[in-house]
């Protein structure tokens, strides 16, 4: 992706929780810097608590960094920018008292889309995720995978250039997330959006990403960027390719010691075990 212009610039961003000098102070992120190119899909991966989600929230303006800054198209992020950035969250944030299509339309209402446009656009984005037949269902009537597709449809309906996805498939079983991952690759190749995708899954990261950013154990720093040279959309046979496996193993090596460090710090395993 070198040469393409950076749409998101993360400039030595640190995030700490608790006051300086407080023994309970936690530094979640430490001077992370990263440029994300237009149209790129970047995966953030790292051990639990390394600040992946924190970084995503800072990019989306849902949290403000302790030091450093994020710019989008040259403008410093100071709060949510619904015209440019849409989120897909890990937890189900669909409103249970509204039907599927009304959920999608409500997002547009919040963003300021004219009422006359909402119906058509909502149908379009539900068709894109294959749920046009479930418009009048309530979220409670859908499976976990379907709910996440509706959340994706709601984000797509906002027609933002940037999509931030915070472990959207984390709560799903492996088979469902495999299928959703393939669909996502196809869908995203069509839209040309700039995407930052947080995940725990090594295979998912390699399968989806143009670049994978590996973060260290807390405090999270950028450890390495891995390029995945493979065109989109990616087919299911890429999942079993030796190329994917090679990159996955490389990620595993990088992450292995970080994960052990995290667990020793938490007292979940003993040192040298």
């Amino acid at each position: 992706m070198s040469g393409a212009e950076a749409v998101i610039r993360v400039d030595s961003v640190s995030q700490a929780f608790g006051a300086e000098g407080d023994p309970r102070r936690v530094v979640a992120l430490e001077s992370a810097s990263l440029d994300i190119a237009r149209g790129e899909l970047l995966c953030l991966i790292g051990p639990s608590g390394c600040g992946k989600s924190t970084l995503l929230n800072i990019i989306g303006g849902l949290a403000s960094p302790t030091t450093g800054q994020v710019t989008i198209d040259g403008h410093v992020v100071r709060g949510p920018s619904p015209q440019k950035v849409a989120f897909v969250f890990q937890e189900n944030t669909l409103f249970p008292w509204r039907t599927v299509i009304d959920n999608v339309k409500l997002g547009m209402a919040f963003q300021g889309v004219a009422k006359s446009e909402r119906q058509e656009r909502a149908l379009q984005s539900l068709r894109a995720v294959g749920l046009a037949d479930f418009c009048d269902h309530y979220p409670g009537q859908l499976s976990g995978g379907m709910k996440q597709r509706v959340q994706l449809a709601r984000a797509l309906g906002l027609k933002t250039e940037i999509l931030l996805m915070d472990e959207p498939f984390a709560a799903l079983d492996e088979q469902t997330r495999m299928v959703l991952g393939e669909d996502l690759s196809v869908l995203l190749a069509q839209t040309g959006k700039t995407i930052v995708f947080v995940t725990h899954s090594l295979a998912e990261a390699v399968f989806l990403a143009d670049r994978v950013a590996v973060l260290t154990a807390r405090p999270g720093r950028l450890k390495k960027l891995i390029h995945v040279e493979e065109g989109h959309p990616r087919k299911s046979n890429f999942m079993t390719s030796s190329k994917l496996n090679g990159l996955r193993n490389e990620l595993y090596e990088l992450l292995h010691e970080e994960i052990r460090k995290t667990m020793i710090e938490r007292g979940e395993v003993r040192e040298g075990a």
């Binding site: 989306g60 849902l62 949510p80 619904p82 015209q83 950035v85 849409a86 989120f87 969250f89 937890e91 189900n92 944030t93 409103f95 249970p96 008292w97 509204r98 409500l106 997002g107 209402a109 919040f110 963003q111 300021g112 309530y138 709601r154 906002l158």
Partner: protein, 253 residues
């Protein structure tokens, strides 16, 4: 499988009712309990019909229902407004939520003698006691509903650009609605119970007033007819508010 078991449950309920009536009848047979203490069921049911004709109950019913409606309106408006204002700030919730919950556990009926002094023997003191008692479940449920809306909903709405008004109208209100509705239902019921209680303690008119003056005149049979009527009104109120709550929930779904 479901239908027969539900029918069976209703049959058992009906059986219990019949058994109670049977026991009542049996206890009042010659040689049983003195009719001054426990009148036999048949004259009580006959007296029940007289309530709507010669022994007109309507003026007293009107008094009680008026007191109830006024108390429910006052408690709903004040409880919901105050609950909303408190829920606006996390600090206020931490201060007032335990305070109000603590006050709720004090038997508010103890205030009734004071209310009699303040508002007199008429409807004023009943409205005051009904409002006081209904206020607490309403305000507490309003706080619980609005202050504890899932943060994930709020974050999601904010990320999509929701304004303060949109956030309140389209997210907070519908999310809190079922909990607030439960508070209103409980408020309606306890207001009625406490107003009847107040009327039996000291009053000039109303259903409770009739019952207590019949008791003082040793007219137990007529008193029982009136009690039966009050029970029926309580059941009707319960059915109406439960139905309204279910309707409200469905409407907001």
């Amino acid at each position: 499988m479901k239908k027969p078991s539900r029918l069976a449950a209703h049959l058992v309920q009906l059986g219990i009712l019949v058994a109670v009536l049977g026991a009542w009848y049996w206890a009042t047979l010659p040689g049983g309990i003195n009719h001054l203490l426990l009148p036999p069921p048949i004259p009580v049911f006959e007296g029940f019909w007289v309530l709507f004709t010669a022994d007109s109950i309507w003026p007293d019913l009107l008094v009680t229902v008026r007191e109830w409606v006024t108390a429910v309106l006052l408690a709903s408006v004040s409880g919901c407004t105050l609950g909303y204002l408190i829920s606006r700030s996390g600090y206020a919730v931490r201060v007032f939520d335990p305070l109000l919950a603590g006050l709720y556990s004090i038997p508010a009926i103890l205030l009734f003698p004071l209310y009699l002094l303040f508002f007199g023997l008429g409807p004023g003191s009943k409205i005051a006691i009904g409002t006081t008692i209904a206020f607490f479940p309403i305000v507490l449920n309003t706080i619980a509903g609005l202050a504890y809306v899932d943060k994930a909903y709020i974050t999601a709405a904010r990320s999509m650009g929701a304004s303060d008004f949109q956030l309140f109208w389209s997210v907070m209100l519908p999310a809190a609605f079922p909990v607030v509705l439960t508070g209103l239902r409980i408020g309606c019921i306890v207001a009625f119970l406490s107003i009847l209680g107040g009327e039996t303690i000291s009053s000039l008119a109303g259903l409770g007033h009739r019952i207590v003056s019949l008791a003082e005149n040793m007219e137990t049979s007529r008193m029982f007819s009136n009690i039966l009527f009050a029970v029926l009104i309580a059941i009707v109120i319960n059915v109406i508010v439960t139905f309204a709550e279910a309707r409200g929930r469905r409407g907001m779904q």
